[in-house]
Amino acid sequence: MTQRQRAAIPYISQLHVPRASSRPGETADFSQLEIPPAGAAKKPELSACCQEMTELAYGLVRVLDDDGQACGPWNPALSAQHLRDGLQYMLHVRAYDERMFKMQRQGKLSFYMKSSGEEAIAVAQAMALKPSDMLFPSYRQQGLLFVRQRPVVEMMCHCISNAKDNLKGRQMPVFYSWKEGNFFSISGNLATQYSQAVGWAMASAYKGEEHIASAWVGDGSTAEADVHHAMLFASTYKAPIILNVVNNQWAISTPQSFASAGTTFAARGIGFNIPSIRVDGNDFLAVYAVTEWAAARARKGYGPTFIELFTYRAEGHSSSDNPDSYRASGEAQAWPLGDPLERLKQHLINRGEWSEIRHQDLEASLKSAVAKDWKEAIAHGTLDDGPHWPVESMFEDVFKDMPPHLRRQQQQVGK
């Protein structure tokens, strides 16, 4: 759009309206993105203050180079087995996403959201944290649950609201909650968990505990007030927390340019005096290293770290939209930072710790594991045909103890 209006208005608008990286019919082109070489970013001391490391908020921490070699001070030097575990989790997430999306298309789920292209984020971050650390995710970090070993059948049972759904049929698919795994209940309202996570971390400090919190929002969601509150409170009270922004370039149809103000998301941390780092979100090793560093800072009492995970949402926002209607159809392929699974796989192969054949075998076995899990899940009930939780259960948990007016309503239901 130019300044000139299509349908005539009696004046020429001077308003600046941000542009998208691409729109349908255009050719996707990320050549203007500045991508620094792997290994170039400096790694500060844990005690470094925000002002000493502002270049990390504008740069991009990268460990894996284009040939799949790990380099530079951020190389977390992980064992091959650790990395194979990471790869397996990511492949598992992808197999799960594929299956669930297909089931949604077949009408077995009311809704689904994939994390394709950004699997490294949740998986590497969960691996860099302790199981006792508390997670406050958005809806696109299902990888956290895989690392924390949540049974896939349970996740599926939630998604189809059957009798085994730990959320008792109350939530839409993917709005998981898993207290046992220190995974907070996902809200349908964007970003609300971000500032709550800071409160959780403040309580941890108040109690003198060493548990830290980690919270996630999307690029688009950074516009919400809760993100502002989270950053202010985290910085003010030096809360032990990692505040992550998953910049996957899109918020449904809206490009990141409507939230980024033309700079990096990581830069937003600077004004709150929070050490802030931008990292290649498709680089498993870099994500792991930055998270490990931030977690160590938090645990040592140095307060919050703000991390922008620079990635790309390779598929639609959810099962409800078709991304080809608002961005160039080749945009995902044009993303210059590749696919996180491919990149980690290549690195392991380079190290002689993995092979195409092992990879294909693993993919196949995860695919059939997921298929088997699905069969088991639907044996506990399906969305349309049940069994569900008893309908009266809807009146439970509104309060801890059911007050009289809800008891009266409960007696009327189904009558």
Partner: protein, 343 residues
């Protein structure tokens, strides 16, 4: 005349308004290039450009605040909140500012902002894509609150809202965006069996027209009992009345505030019985205000207690959307109870 769905009628209202007044613009999350997640703004970006079909950051509070400032500076912003469930981040700007600006400034400043938002169940959206918070806004002085039940009304009321110099919260029941919904209690609550193209209120003029705010419409005259409702529940009530064979008078409120109390009181004074229906949770919902008003105005005519058929006082559950939704059967039962009630 054209055949339009609710979505098309709303789009047509926006189109007419953008076309007529250069100071009108639509704004909100995904409303520009994409045309809105429910497609209500489709085509406006192409026709009026990025400045008049304005995409915004995801910050409901910021969107409404910006709209207030624009309104003060002579524009007529039409804001979309993507779901009524997401209007709460904007509620401080709506209650403390938008609603009160004209009064607090002694009439010096005001902002003619219209806030459109889809409400109610219908997409298996669970508790955060199904709410009907209209009752809250009726408690806030300075706001007008509207909820249409069909394409014809939707277009005429929306144009009135946009041209009104007071702020209007305009609720669009998403369950009837694409067809009337009769709430068959055996059916899936999420599929819409009806079709606006075969419904009389699906006939909508292409041109600009208005339906006055604050005026209810009597959809069916009857002598036995008065049924008050609005939005989706109008159709369910209509079907329930038909199924029950009861000679009920059905009033579609259309505007909740200002309320057309004259029409309501005249009807209840005639029938002496009344049932109030809404999808919103029961306690302190708008039904309570209706009952309070009616018993004040019509006490001596009332032959039976006024019943409420409403959503339960729980969040809207994903798996139990049907059991939550006030069904035809629940309405029929309430009608029968109210008819049978006698000293």
């Amino acid at each position: 005349m054209a055949q339009m769905s609710m979505v098309q009628a709303i789009r047509s209202a926006l189109d007419c308004s953008l076309n007529k007044d250069p100071n009108v613009l639509v704004m909100g999350e995904d409303v520009g290039f994409f045309g809105g997640v429910f497609r209500c703004t489709e085509g406006l970006y192409e026709k009026y450009g990025a400045h008049r079909a304005l995409d915004t950051p995801i910050a409901e509070g910021g969107i409404v605040a910006a709209a207030i400032g624009m309104g003060v500076n002579g524009l007529r912003p039409v804001v979309e909140m993507q779901f009524a469930d997401y209007i709460y981040p904007a509620i401080d700007q709506i209650i403390s500012e938008l609603a009160r600006l004209r009064h607090r400034s002694g009439g010096e400043f005001w902002a003619p902002v219209t806030i459109r938002t889809p409400c109610g169940g219908g997409i298996r959206g669970g508790q955060t894509h199904s709410q009907s918070p209209e009752g809250i806004f009726t408690h806030v002085c300075g706001l007008k609150t509207v909820m249409p039940s069909n394409p014809f009304d939707a277009k005429g009321l929306l144009i009135s809202a946009i041209e009104d110099d007071d702020p209007v919260i305009f609720f669009e029941p998403k369950r009837i965006y694409n067809g009337p919904f009769y709430g068959h209690h055996n059916g899936d609550p999420n599929t819409v069996p009806g079709n606006w193209s075969t419904h009389p209120a699906g006939e909508v003029p292409e041109e600009h027209y208005k339906i006055a705010l604050g005026v209810a419409t009597t959809l069916r005259s009857g002598e036995a009992i008065t049924v008050l409702t609005y939005g989706t529940m109008v159709h369910v009530a209509e079907a329930a009345i038909a199924a029950s064979g009861i000679d009920a008078e059905l009033i579609d409120l259309r505007t909740l505030l200002p309320l057309d109390l004259d029409t309501i009181a005249a009807s209840v004074q005639k029938t002496g019985r009344c049932v109030v229906i809404h999808e919103a949770t029961r306690t302190s919902g708008f039904g309570a205000e209706l009952i309070a008003d009616i018993q004040e105005e019509c006490f001596w005519h009332l032959k039976a207690p006024i019943e409420r058929v409403t959503g339960w006082d729980t969040p809207y559950p994903h798996a139990f959307e049907w059991e939550y939704f006030p069904s035809q059967q629940r309405i029929i039962d309430a009608l029968n109870r109210t008819l049978k009630a006698n000293l």
